[in-house]
């Protein structure tokens, strides 16, 4: 499987986390830029879910199918949950929540590769 999408997600997640932590350090609140970046991350994650589902539909199976399905459900929820939880916070700690989501997205890609090595990073 082409590793371009997971690699893009890792880079995007880390860049988002870095930017969000900078906003926390500068004592800024949640911004439209952070929400838009979360939206981009969400789209990328949905594309990745689509690619994996297509592969499953093609008849291929990983060893830990249950775990993989858990990841497919949880992955797209990360940016959504972070957006809600971060927007509720009207201080510098809102962006910090977004930073966590960016890091989690990156880590999830590495874990996906470990669960099913055909998903290249």
């Amino acid at each position: 499987m082409n590793g371009a999408v997971p690699t893009t997600i890792i880079v995007a997640g880390l860049v988002l986390a870095g930017y969000a932590l900078l906003m926390t350090a500068l004592n800024r609140r949640m911004s439209v830029i952070l929400l838009a970046a979360l939206g981009v991350l969400e789209i990328l994650l949905l594309v990745e879910v689509g690619l994996i589902v297509a592969k499953l539909a093609g008849g291929e199976r990983p060893a830990g199918l249950a775990t993989l399905i858990g990841y497919l459900i949880a992955m797209p929820l990360v940016p959504v949950a972070a957006a809600f939880w971060g927007l509720m916070e009207r201080s510098r700690w809102g962006p910090a929540v977004i930073a966590v989501a960016g890091l989690v997205a990156a880590v999830l890609m590495v874990r996906l590769h470990q669960i099913w090595p055909v998903i290249h990073v």
């Binding site: 775990t67 916070e89 910090a96 929540v97």
Partner: protein, 178 residues
């Protein structure tokens, strides 16, 4: 005489609960671990329990601890804070005990738990998380005690003056850093 310091001031920039401010980040990470540890332990216990029973039961125990921490930090009442203090302490003791155990006796852990190797499989976040949890709780308990002291001393200004001035300084510095 007016005592302006004792007002709770639940404004946006000053956290008014363990749920807000840095607590927001703490809860996000605890929720993540609660979810992933529960799901992982559930899958392991259902599909291959006999492979590593000790490891899987410890994972399940860790999952319960994370769920309790998530809920109690989110609720934030004095009772919830007391439960959170207990669960964070158990969590820290658990990471240290299981971490040491997994290094001393690897045969018992053919498969990793969340707390194996002091949480090395999870970037040592499981080791750091309870420390931050306990620090966050200490900040809150100190604040609650301060407020009680000020309220008491407000009605009894003559005797408790020294103590209340000192505590008031503590709370001000707390606010500035928050």
């Amino acid at each position: 005489m007016s005592e302006p310091v004792a007002s709770p001031e639940p404004t946006a920039s000053h956290p008014d609960s363990t749920r807000t401010g840095p607590g927001r980040v703490l809860i996000a990470i605890y929720a993540l671990f609660a979810l992933s540890a529960s799901a992982r332990a559930g899958v392991q216990i259902v599909t291959k329990f006999s492979h590593a029973p000790v490891a899987y039961l410890l994972s399940a125990f860790a999952a319960v601890v994370y769920v309790i921490a998530t809920v109690t930090f989110a609720v934030g009442s004095p009772t919830a804070r007391r439960i959170a203090l207990l669960s964070c302490s158990i969590e820290l003791a658990g990471v240290l005990a299981v971490g040491t155990w997994s290094l001393a006796d690897p045969a018992t852990f053919p498969d990793a738990t969340v707390w194996s190797g002091y949480g090395s499989g999870y970037g040592y976040v499981p080791l750091v998380l309870p420390v931050f949890g306990l620090l966050w709780l200490r900040r809150w308990n100190r604040r609650a005690r301060t407020r009680r002291t000020i309220i008491t001393s407000a009605g009894d200004a003559g005797e408790a003056a020294d103590g209340s001035v000192d505590h008031r300084h503590q709370e001000t510095s707390w606010r500035r850093s928050g």
